[in-house]
Amino acid sequence: MKFGVVVFPGSNCDHDAYHVISKHVGQPVDFIWHRDTDLSSYDAVIIPGGFSYGDYLRAGALARFSPVMTSLQRFAAQGKFVLGVCNGFQILCEAGLLPVALIRNRDLHFICDYVRVRVESSATPYTHELTPGSVLRLPIAHAEGNYVCDDTTLAELQRNDQIIFRYCDDQGEVTAAANPNGSRDNIAGICNRTRNVLGLMPHPERACEELLGSSDGREIFRSLAGTLALATA
């Protein structure tokens, strides 16, 4: 199994993602420059956090036009795995690989903090080793993490079990007070209909070592590696 981490001008969590795959997942991983278009050797691609193109125009809007994104559309359509973290989530929304968009935080501030998210579904390649209802402690660092969608889209997401992570309190209760950025329905992460594309605002790749404050993010990468081990066996 082979992982790729896409690097846009302005990506800044690319090395974190690379480190986690090589050290904690123990699998081969390459950086993929955003002008590269050959993804044929990869089983999973991570779109990392950062400020691609300086977040000019809208967060993630300009990265969508990078050459790698056309290949990524095909890659995702083939059922291969795409994980977008933070700016990566924003890019996947702009590219139409995940529904709707992330706008400015409710209180306008850039938020850099630890939050808790509840695992809402284990029926994804990224969460199958997690228990629904379990709580992860993960860092967030964003100004545009406020997930918006209309009532119809929200109902569809709920009906199709596409809401994978929701902001919650220490006890795992999804409350308004535990919502850091105003996201609709406390949404912190969603997947696409076919469940191979996942985007989330919290940073699991920054939470894989106790030394850094939390290792709760590891299970997401281990779940994905477990899925790939079966798929590529």
């Binding site: 125009l57 809208r58 809007a61 036009f65 702009e94 709707v100 968009a101 706008i103 400015r104 935080n105 409710r106 209180d107 306008l108 406020n146 918006v148 209309d150 105003g182």
Partner: protein
């Protein structure tokens, strides 16, 4: 004929605009009354050279607005052309 396209991009009605709300709050703190709502948007000026006809320039500006300058899922756009 060289033309200028003015493109206005605004969040759709119904999409929360936290920046507009904060600006409205500040305006009210300053004592302005009667402000029912403030929505923040973006404004672009695109200079188009004489190689395109007026119709082509208009079509091109509309496509730019739709495909790049706005996110049509959450934003509306309006294009004005000026000779």
């Amino acid at each position: 004929m060289a033309m200028k396209a003015r493109v206005y991009v605004t969040l759709k009605a119904g999409v929360l605009d936290p920046q507009g709300k904060a600006i409205q709050h500040s305006v009210e703190l300053l004592g302005f009354s009667g402000v029912a709502d403030i929505r923040q948007g973006k404004y672009f000026e695109i200079a188009i050279d004489a190689s395109l006809s007026e119709a082509e320039a208009r079509e091109s500006a509309n496509r730019m607005a739709r495909e790049v300058l706005s996110n049509p899922i959450i934003e509306d756009y309006r294009v004005e052309m000026e000779a």
